[in-house]
C-alpha cells in the first residue's frame, strides 16, 4: 500500500510517473483542501493530464484526511508544512518542486514556500489565500462553526434536502474529522505570515480564482503584497472551480509549469502572457 511515514504521521501517497522520455522532468506536488477533501480531488482531475504533460506527479492525503493517519493533534500550519517537507525527504525528492494547492492546500503551499524557499520552483494556488491575520480570524470562525454544528441532525437534514445525500455524507465525514481532532483550533494558529514575510516569497506564484467566488477579492490585494504573483480569474465559476472546471485550471497550470522549469529559464525561454492556447 502506498504509505509514507513523514514527521511522525503515516501519510497516504499516490504518484503518477511523467509520460516523457526527456531526462529532467519537473515534479508537481498537489495539496488538497480541508474537511471531506482528499488527494482524489487532484488525482481524478489534474493528475493524469499533468503526467501526460511530462510532469512527475505526487498527490497525498494531508494528515487527518483521506487514508492518512488521523492523530488527535498536530494540525498547525507549521505541522502541515513539516509533514510536506518530511514527505519530500522520504520520497528522496531533493530538487525544487512545483506546488499546486486547492483552497487550504494553497495556504499550505504559501507557508511551505516561505519556510523552504530553496525547495520550491513555483506555486499554483486555486481559490486560496496565504495565512494572514485576517485569514486566521476567518478560519477560526468557519472551523468553529463546522465543529459545533456540522453533525447536528437539523443541519444534516437541511444539507441533505438542499444539497443532496452525497454532500450530507461528506459533511458527516468533515464533522467527524473536526470533532475527533484539534484541527479546528490548531489550524488558525499558523504560524501566520505578515506583509514582510509574504513579500519575501520569491518564487513565481499563479493565483487562480473563480469570478463568482467570495475569495475573488483576494485577487485585488495579493499581487500588491506578493510581487511575484500573477492572477487568473475563471469566469462564471465559484469556489468549486477545480472540481467543476478542471479543464480551465489545467490550461493555466500546464503552460505555467513549463515556463518555470529551471532549465528553461536558464536558456532564456521567452515569457509569454498568453495563458490559454486559444
Amino acid at each position: 500500500m502506498p504509505f509514507v511515514t513523514a514527521n511522525g504521521a503515516r501519510l497516504h501517497v499516490q504518484r503518477l510517473a511523467a509520460k516523457s522520455t526527456e531526462p529532467e522532468q519537473p515534479t508537481v506536488v498537489f495539496i488538497h483542501g480541508l474537511g471531506w477533501d482528499s488527494l482524489a480531488s487532484f488525482y481524478f482531475t489534474l493528475g493524469a493530464p499533468a503526467a501526460s504533460a511530462g510532469f512527475h506527479v505526487v498527490t497525498y492525503d494531508l494528515r487527518g484526511h483521506g487514508k492518512s493517519e488521523r492523530p488527535a493533534q498536530g494540525y498547525t500550519l507549521g505541522d502541515t508544512v513539516a509533514d510536506l517537507a518530511g514527505l519530500l525527504d522520504e520520497l528522496a525528492i531533493t530538487g525544487p518542486v512545483h506546488l499546486v494547492g486547492n483552497c487550504f492546500g494553497g495556504t499550505v503551499a504559501f507557508s511551505f514556500a516561505h519556510r523552504y524557499p530553496e525547495r520550491v520552483a513555483s506555486l499554483v494556488v486555486i481559490e486560496s489565500e496565504p495565512a494572514t491575520g485576517a485569514w486566521s480570524v476567518k478560519l477560526r470562525e468557519l472551523l468553529g462553526n463546522a465543529t459545533d454544528h456540522l453533525l447536528h441532525p437539523d443541519v444534516l437534514n437541511w444539507i441533505s434536502e438542499n444539497r443532496g445525500a452525497h454532500t450530507a455524507r461528506r459533511s458527516v465525514a468533515a464533522g467527524k474529522i473536526f470533532t475527533a481532532t484539534t484541527m479546528a483550533s490548531e489550524i488558525p494558529r499558523g504560524p501566520l505570515l505578515g506583509e514582510a514575510e509574504l513579500a519575501a516569497i520569491g518564487c513565481p506564484v499563479l493565483a487562480i480564482f473563480g469570478s463568482e467566488s467570495d475569495l475573488v477579492q483576494v485577487a485585488d490585494w495579493l499581487p500588491r503584497l506578493l510581487p511575484s504573483c500573477k492572477v487568473a480569474i475563471i469566469e462564471g465559476r465559484d469556489h468549486s472551480v477545480l472540481a467543476e472546471a478542471p479543464q480551465s485550471v489545467r490550461e493555466l497550470m500546464v503552460p505555467w509549469i513549463n515556463r518555470h522549469r529551471p532549465q528553461h529559464s536558464a536558456v532564456g525561454a521567452p515569457e509569454s502572457e498568453g495563458e490559454h492556447t486559444r
Binding site: 499516490q14 482528499s38 482524489a40 481524478f44 482531475t45 501526460s52 461528506r170 465525514a173
Partner: protein, 104 residues
C-alpha cells in the same frame, strides 16, 4: 449471438466478478459478493463510496490488469457529474475495452 459477442459477455462477467472482489477489499466492512454488485450500481450513491475509495480501487485495478488500466486517466476524461454517476458497468466496459485493445 456471434462468437465474438459471446467472448465479450464472458469477459464482462469475469471483470465484474473481479471488481466485486476488489470492492470487498476496499470496503472491508461491507460484505459484498459478485451477485450483490451489479453493472448498474453507482459507486457513490449505491455503494456509498467516496472518491478516495475509488483511488484505492484504481490501485487494485492497475495491480491486476497492468498499466493499460489507468483509473486516473479514465476519470480525467469525465466531468464531475459523470464521476459522481459512474457505474460499475462503466468501469467494466472501460477495462474490457482496454484489455481488448492490448490483444489486437
Amino acid at each position: 449471438m456471434t462468437e465474438s459477442e459471446l467472448a465479450t459477455v464472458a469477459d464482462e462477467q469475469e471483470v465484474l466478478a473481479e471488481i466485486a472482489d476488489m470492492l470487498a477489499q476496499v470496503l472491508e466492512d461491507m460484505e459484498l459478493t459478485a451477485t450483490e454488485v451489479g453493472m448498474a450500481d453507482t459507486f457513490h450513491e449505491d455503494l456509498g463510496m467516496e472518491s478516495i475509495d475509488l483511488v484505492m480501487l484504481g490501485n487494485l485495478l492497475t495491480e491486476r490488469y497492468g498499466d493499460k488500466v489507468n483509473f486516473a486517466e479514465f476519470a480525467a476524461e469525465l466531468d464531475l457529474e459523470a464521476i459522481i454517476a459512474l457505474t460499475v458497468g462503466d468501469l467494466v466496459t472501460y477495462i474490457v475495452r482496454r484489455l481488448g485493445g492490448e490483444e489486437h
